[in-house]
């Protein structure tokens, strides 16, 4: 199964180069791949939905009983028809499933493959705040990333389960005590956004938020120096 799917991955990703998005630094930008895949899947399910809904509406109107006591006139299926009506649709559904799985896998790799030059930021979650530790040992309560510098967050929790929810980066991953999880980010846009806790963690769950900023390298350096002093 894995061989089959990875063969399909290869085939599909050559067809759908668009589903892998690359930015200025030549590395995958997961949130851009996410949007491409999302639109693909939405088209897929909309087509299925519209066909099935139209069929239902047509038949529901067409086959209304005209007199009481009338019965349906559908013929019983022969064995061949019955088996065909199971196997052919099943094959179509499976083909679509494998197509979506292959595309999903390609985007998954964009999310999970961390480039070697990624800056590591350690994240520790508490009830109810995030703490970020930079390579030089500086700890802060906001996440600031230099523009175009890939970042990997290594995350763990000191109390209950939290989740690093970054809606504008189209990613989240749980933060758990006793386990280390990671998120790869490629900050190709200069912007100010936020991280919110996305796994229920008690009273102030919906207040657990921290700023996330992407700034030019120079601004980052001076910010980090200031944070190290303060």
């Amino acid at each position: 199964m894995r061989k089959l799917t990875s063969a399909l991955t290869g085939m599909v990703s050559t067809v759908l180069l668009s589903s892998q998005a690359y930015a200025g630094n030549g590395l995958a930008v997961p949130n851009e791949s996410w949007e491409v895949l999302w639109h693909e899947v939405i088209i897929d399910i909309t087509v299925i939905g519209v066909i099935m809904a139209a069929l239902a509406v047509w038949w529901l109107l067409k086959y209304r009983a005209t007199s009481p006591g009338q019965v349906g006139t559908a013929k019983e299926l022969t064995a061949v028809q019955a088996i065909s009506w199971a196997l052919i649709p099943a094959s179509i559904f499976m083909a679509d499933d494998f197509f979506l799985a292959a595309n999903g896998w390609t985007v998954w790799n964009d999310y999970r493959r961390v480039p070697e030059n990624a800056m590591e930021v350690k994240v520790t979650a508490y009830q109810w705040y995030f703490e970020f530790e930079y390579p030089d040992g500086t700890t802060t309560e906001e996440l600031v990333m230099p523009h175009n510098q890939p970042v990997v967050l290594r995350m763990t929790s000191e109390d209950v389960i939290h989740s690093m929810g970054l809606p504008s980066y189209r990613v989240k991953e749980d933060i758990m005590p006793g386990r280390i999880t990671y998120i790869y980010l490629n900050p190709v846009d200069i912007k100010e956004t936020f991280v919110q806790c996305a796994e229920f963690c008690g009273q102030d769950h919906s207040q657990m938020v921290a700023p996330v900023r992407v700034v030019p390298q120079a601004a980052f350096d001076s910010w980090l120096a200031q944070a190290a002093e303060g």
Binding site: D44, M52, V71, A86, W108, Q203, H205
Partner: protein
Amino acid sequence: MSTPTSTAGHAATPAWKEWLLTTDHKRIGVMYLVGSMAAFGVAGLMAIIIRLEQMELGMQYVSSATQYNGFLYFHGAAMILAFLIPGLTGFAANYFLPLMIGARDVAFPRINAFSIWLFYFAIVLALLSFIVPDGPDIMWTGYPPYSVTTAANTSMYVFTVHLLGFSSILGAVNFLVTVIYMRAPGMGWNQLNIFVWTTIAAFVLQLVFIPVLAAAVTLLLFDKYLGTHFYDPSAGGDVLLYQNLFWFYSHPAVYVIFLPAVGIIMEVISTMCKNPIFNYKAAVYPGIWGIVGIGGIVWIHHLYITGMPDWIRLGMMVTTLLISVPVGILVLSLWGTLYKGAITYNTAMMYAVSCLYLILLGGLTGIPLAIPSLTLHLSETSYVHAHFHFIMALFSAFALFAGIYYWFPKMTARYADGPLATLSFWLNFIGVNVTFWPLFIIGKEGMPRRYWNYEMFADIQVLGHNFQWYHTIATYGSWIVAAGMILQTINFIYAAFAGKPAPTNPWGSQSLEWTHTASPPGPGNFGETDVVVDENWSPYKYS
């Protein structure tokens, strides 16, 4: 049409005592219906409060975040464990499964009575969480370590799950034995009603998977109150053990709800179209049993963002997507049954048709969630919340309502149809769409679940409106649903006592519960003679 004065046949016993001590599957079915509708009412009230609180930024209506979390807990736990599961496998299966297979009762009537009382004790225990000062606030999922470290009372959650689980396991054994050994002489497996098939499939799932849930929550209890460390990493435990055990049961639990719901609308659609089920054997074997087969190996899609190894996340992406195969076959059977039918519309059929829309919408919006790379963002957003409400909550609840309208003349010898029924149907149908469509839209932009405060999203605009605008629409929708549900409840109560009298087989069904019993069926269901069917008999033979 016969109208027996007492369905239990003990004229000297007062009515309350008859109900209290009954072992009659039909009365137990009605008791499940009353209990589950009561749970639906209370849990629905919680939903109204939750929606009201989200209408505006900041805290307006609840007194504290802890109270809000308590309402969320109760809404989820009660809707799933005390409304949907007992409504479908308790009420519908109890009342109609023995009738459909020509049995005079279930195999173990006293154990059946024990099941209903366990269910009522569980409801009482769950309601006590409003009275104690430290009611549970752990969501219906009860994830540790929060459920262990919280000051609230996790034991009430655990014991409620134990009581309901025990009740369901006994019910499962009872109904499996009933179907295997008590079918009318001559009734082969391929002549069973689809609803019977879906019910036994649901009970097989309950029997296999409930013990896992019971074990998971028992370990939770030990961790919190006896100082064990099953889920405590500081002493060698693992927080993810619980989530794996919990979803190993709770994903199949979705099918425990979904399958009987499909069974009910198949019965309604076949009867109202006067057509046999399209491709019956495909619906039963690859369809229903295909879901049972795959249902146990997809649970990781609830753990896509928990840092599980990549191979299992991607492996279960494939199994999860493949669920579309058996579900697709069931959908084709539903659609195919319409083809060349002679369709009569009534309230039961309107609910069944609305279920066709809900299964399509709810099912298809699940496809993005099957793909882990999309779920890395969509997980824990109101997109998920809208998806599972459409497919699990609304599809199954509407199927249950279809079943209530369909079988109402059987239970009461009266119709529940009428202007009030039609009005409440449209309020419910429009209301759920107004409530849950906005949640898809803001969920895709990141609106988190289980939040009362979403100030951090205040600057984000979707199609020219902020999140609060969408939340306000959703809240208006919840009021429409509330109006519909209240009118519908009034309609049921009125119709049960003063509805239009109905003949024994008002819809012209060929199924045994309509052709061979009085309305309501008397003690022993089938009068003097046992039901015997021949090999040409089918519950769906109209011509």
